[in-house]
């Protein structure tokens, strides 16, 4: 079945999936923290659009609530909080020098292929949109992990962690037409609590080692002595 024979809803979901993956790639190559947080908020917005679209198309009204929760948490509150931390710790002028950006990007592209390769036999008899959207959400999860590996700033790690959660959320939306409300509320509060805890950790790390560069944490080990 080719894409031109699918209905408009499926086409939009596939395009949104593609755009969510694109935002993951943009985050991967971003050296400035404020822009990283902005792109993360953008990814959240795309996720909200996908959720609202799913809610409309399946007429599944509780999905509107999860869209609203995502909007408030991942588009507004968490980016706002991270932005506050970055400004307070005076990190908005730093540009993180990513070593070997091109290799990281191509590594990301191969992760996308890998997630298709993994999911293809599992979902051989599912619909085209499910396979693609699931593969893309797995790719977003893996790209979030790659973001955490390749960046050195703790704030970038948190953004990577949150974007992993975005990938899982997207997978849930397209594959099971939304999780039960209880699960979703639980996850949302987990994310919220995690964000607050991360804020406290940021303060502690920057108080004790005067930077959020996690490579510097190695200095605490005994090898240096």
């Amino acid at each position: 079945m080719n894409i031109e024979q699918l209905d408009l809803y499926t086409q939009i979901i596939l395009s949104l999936a593609g755009l969510i993956m694109l935002t993951s790639f943009i985050m991967l190559g971003q050296g400035r923290l404020l822009r990283l947080v902005f792109v993360f908020a953008l990814q959240g917005l795309l996720l909200v659009l996908a959720t609202a679209l799913a809610a409309y198309s399946f007429s599944n009204h509780h999905l509107y609530i999860s869209a609203a929760i995502t909007l408030v948490l991942k588009v507004l509150f968490i980016p706002w909080m991270l932005r506050g931390h970055i400004l307070k710790l005076n990190m908005h002028r730093d540009v993180e020098a990513l070593n070997n950006k091109t290799t990281i990007m191509l590594g990301g592209a191969s992760l996308v292929i890998f997630s298709y390769y993994v999911l293809h036999p599992i979902l051989a008899d599912s619909t085209i949109v499910l396979l693609n959207a699931l593969a893309l959400s797995l790719a977003v999860v893996l790209l979030g992990m790659l973001l955490m590996i390749s960046h050195r700033q703790a704030i970038a790690h948190v953004v990577g962690f949150m974007s992993i959660e975005n990938g899982l959320f997207f997978a849930a939306i397209v594959s099971t037409r939304g999780m039960p409300m209880v699960v979703e509320l639980g996850v949302a509060f987990d994310v919220l609590v995690a964000a607050v805890l991360f804020g406290i950790f940021f303060l502690h790390i920057s108080n004790s080692i005067d930077t959020l560069d996690v490579d510097r944490l190695n200095r605490l080990s005994e090898e240096d002595e």
């Binding site: 755009l19 950006k101 592209a109 693609n132």
Partner: protein, 319 residues
């Protein structure tokens, strides 16, 4: 026979339209930029006046320059005209467009660039060689990205002929393709790099440290300079038309009636005007990159092209 003759005439007319409209696009782009930067804008006709003024001046050629330096402007300009003949502007299915495909188009660009770089090297000034080496570095990275983006289109339409591919996209109606989103981004990034627009090169300055295109043509004057300027305006318009007609082909004439052609002309002028506004906006918002960051920029363009191709193969092709 009569019908065919008319088609050929139309194709020639379309190419002429391309050549005539190119300075207008450059003028409009400059005007938009001036408005955005609170400057007083020159008239839309200014690029034409500049070209006319240059053709009246006597070209000065260095004694060290060989014949290559003198014929290069003509070769570059003719390569661009040939490229313009391949790209559908207001109508699809014209004979020139049917004769050559998109790989030939990329070939024309490469051919023109080769002679431009040779001409830059030929006079033996420091800047000329520097500009040529920079231009070749950038284009060697930009070309794969462009081919990748264009192959996404050609795989969708299963033809490398630009005219048929556009007709195919047009025939499908409104289809949202993830691969086209990626290809569009990739092609826009490549177009900015190849036309020497702001994040990569600034065509409006002669700053020694950063210039690329200007460094190569520093020794040109008179009608030679006019031809090269015109060719680079044509190149900008070619990329603009490629972006406008591949990704937003609506309005282009499919039948060769007078009414359809008129609509096609209106549509492409409108699309190019909009595109120029977007370009002017991005040039005002972004600062120029350091030269050594251009490869990161272009590798991102390549990555987008690659992702577009992957999304086509994986997301859209039938299983």
């Amino acid at each position: 026979m009569d019908h065919q003759l008319m088609n050929v005439l139309l194709a020639i007319l379309q190419t002429l339209l391309f050549i005539i409209l190119a300075p207008l696009l450059a003028g409009w782009l400059k005007r938009c930029k001036c408005y955005l930067q609170n400057r007083k804008a020159p008239s839309l006709m200014q690029p034409y006046r500049d070209l006319l003024k240059l053709t009246h001046k006597q070209p000065v050629v260095s004694k060290q320059a060989s014949w290559l330096f003198v014929i290069s402007p003509y070769i570059i300009f003719s390569a661009m005209v040939l490229a313009a003949a391949v790209v559908p502007l207001i109508a699809v299915d014209l004979p020139t467009a049917a004769g050559a495909d998109v790989i030939v188009l990329v070939g024309f660009f490469a051919f023109a660039r080769f002679f431009l770089a040779l001409a830059g090297l030929d006079v033996g000034t420091a800047f000329g060689g520097m500009g040529s080496s920079r231009e070749m570095t950038i284009s060697s990275l930009a070309e794969p990205a462009m081919l990748m983006a264009i192959f996404t289109l050609t795989m969708t339409a299963s033809t490398t002929n630009l005219s048929y591919a556009i007709a195919h996209v047009l025939g499908e109606g409104m289809v949202l393709r993830p691969s086209f989103i990626f290809a569009l981004f990739a092609l826009v990034l490549v177009a900015i790099a190849e036309c020497g627009r702001i994040p990569v090169d600034n065509p409006a300055t002669h700053l020694e440290l950063t210039m690329i295109h200007e460094a190569m043509i520093l020794e040109y004057s008179g009608r030679h300079l006019a031809l090269i300027e015109w060719a680079s305006q044509l190149k900008l318009m070619l990329y603009g038309v490629l972006i406008a007609n591949i990704f937003f082909p609506w309005g282009i004439a499919e039948t060769l009636t007078l009414q359809d052609l008129g609509y096609g002309l209106l549509a492409i002028v409108g699309k190019l005007a909009l595109l120029a506004i977007v370009l002017a906006l991005s040039e005002t918002l972004f600062a120029k990159m350091r030269l050594f960051r251009v490869q990161e920029y272009l590798s991102f363009a390549y990555l987008l092209g690659l992702l577009g191709m992957l999304s086509h193969i994986i997301l859209e092709a039938s299983r």
